[in-house]
Each structure stands twice: as C-alpha cells, then as structure tokens.
C-alpha cells in the first residue's frame, strides 16, 4: 500500500467520504469492467457497483490490511456479482464483452497474435465466457482477462489456490470446446 493510499484509508476509516471516494475511485473503472464481464449487463453492473461501494464504505472500519485494498474491494465485487447472479432466473447471460471492448491492437509477431486479431474469434470468446457457470467465469476473468496472480485471484474468488486452478482449467477447456479447435487455430477460415 502506498503512503497516499494508507493516508486515505486512515481518513476514510475516520468517516471521511471524500477520502473513501478518492481511495476507491482509483479502482472504479476497473471494478465496473469486472462487474460488466461477470454480469454482462451495463445497467446491472452499474447498480451492483454502487452496492459494492456502499458495502466497502460500511465495512472499511473492519478492513485490517491483511490483503491489499484492491483485493479487498474486488472480493466484495465478486461476492456482490454472485449475489446478483443468484437473484437472476436461470437464463443465458448477455454477451458481456462487445466488439468495441475487444478491439485492442495486438502484436502480429507470432502465431497466437495473428489469431487474436480475428474479431470473430474475440466475439466467439466473449460469448463462450458468458455461457460459463459463474465460478468458472470468475476464474478465467480474474486470472486471464484481469491478469491477476493465482494467489490474488484465488483470494478474491474466496477459494484456495488449488481449487481456483481447477476452476480455471475447467473454464478454459469448456471455452475451447464451445469454440472449437478449428476456429481457434484458424483452420477453415
């Protein structure tokens, strides 16, 4: 934790809303995108993001600093996303990652990069991620999309590292099966 973050945290714990907003605001965009990826619906993600901030505000006096503030906030976000998903009726999630959000330039230097340039593939991946069961989607989003370490991602998901890895591998296998090796390796198209 940086000195600035520690000072903001101390002020927020003392009831300073401005400090809380500055502290948490640094992660707001990333947190909202995480919720968007997990929930697939911008409006719902926005509502849940507000709930996450309220819960963080109410719980900040109990934050002990055993994990980073970011990890703690993300953990609340994943829990709230799971609660929102549990409230939903069982239905296929809408695609959480639209083409614009996937439109990121990649290096043409190697074979995977060339495949990654395919917007069709990106859209297929987004659809496949949306169809995963929430615990599997959470695992692949935290580890692969967010790029968190296994330790941090497992902590946020609220499971041990071995269980987290198991979910991650299962998620990747299901996504691979949903898309197919031909589409992934560029065969027949």
């Amino acid at each position: 934790m940086t000195e600035t973050e520690a000072a903001l945290l101390a002020r927020a714990k003392a009831g300073d809303v401005d400090a809380f907003e500055e502290l948490s605001g640094a992660y707001a965009d990333r947190l909202y995108l995480l919720l968007l990826r997990l929930l697939g619906d911008p409006d719902e993600a926005g509502e849940v993001a507000q709930e996450v901030m309220v819960r963080a505000w109410r719980g900040i006096s109990r934050f002990q600093g055993r994990s980073s503030y970011f990890t703690w906030l993300y953990r609340i976000a994943v829990n709230e996303a799971n609660r929102a998903l549990a409230r939903r009726e069982r239905e296929p999630a809408s695609v959480p990652l639209g083409p614009r959000e996937l439109d990121r330039p990649t290096s043409p230097a190697d074979d995977p990069a060339r495949q990654a340039e395919s917007s069709e593939l990106r859209q297929a991946l987004a659809r496949a991620l949306a169809m995963l069961a929430p615990p599997l989607r959470t695992a692949i989003v935290l580890r692969d999309v967010e790029g968190l370490s296994t330790q941090e991602a497992a902590e946020i998901a609220g499971v041990g590292q071995a269980a987290f890895k198991s979910r991650l591998h299962q998620a990747r296998l299901q996504v691979r099966a949903a898309i197919g090796d031909d589409a992934l390796t560029g065969v027949n198209g």
Binding site: Y32, W57, D144, G147
Partner: protein
C-alpha cells in the same frame, strides 16, 4: 492402450501445460504425445491461442458510471460503521 491413456490425459491437461502447471516429466509426456498426435498438437495450439486472446480482451473505453458513489454520498459522512 498406453497411447489412448496418454491421449485422454493430454486432452485434460492442455490448460495445465499452457499455464506452466505441469512438472518436467508431465510436460515431457505431453510433448511426446502431441508430437505424434495431430489432435493433441492442434489442441495445444488452440489452447495457446485461447489463453493469448482472452488475456488481450480489451479493457479500454469502459468507464464506471458517474453515479458509482451516489449511495455512499447519500449515506453521508461520519462513522461508516454506524451506517451498517
């Protein structure tokens, strides 16, 4: 029989391989099998592309709504725990 077992095992461990979760012997086992098995060789390439592409799903241009702190603001200043 051994080959069929290797095949099933390899298919189940493609993500482990890409993640670097296999020990040296296990990695060699998958390498050996994939060299002679077109299906697993292609599966390994597919898994690499999958992970590579998912890792590059963009995060730009998405901003949190300006309302994200509205409810916290409504809760007001003071001892945050007292609001719980």
């Amino acid at each position: 029989m051994g080959n069929a077992q290797d095949h099933q095992w390899s298919q189940r461990h493609l993500s482990h391989y890409v993640e670097g979760d296999l020990g040296r012997r296990a990695r060699r086992r998958l390498d050996r099998h994939a060299l002679g098995c077109a299906d697993c060789g292609r599966g390994l390439r597919a898994m690499r592309v999958l992970v590579f592409t998912v890792q590059r799903l963009d995060r730009a241009d998405v901003r949190a709504p300006a309302t994200i702190f509205d409810r916290v603001r409504l809760a007001g200043a003071g001892d945050p725990a007292a609001d719980a």
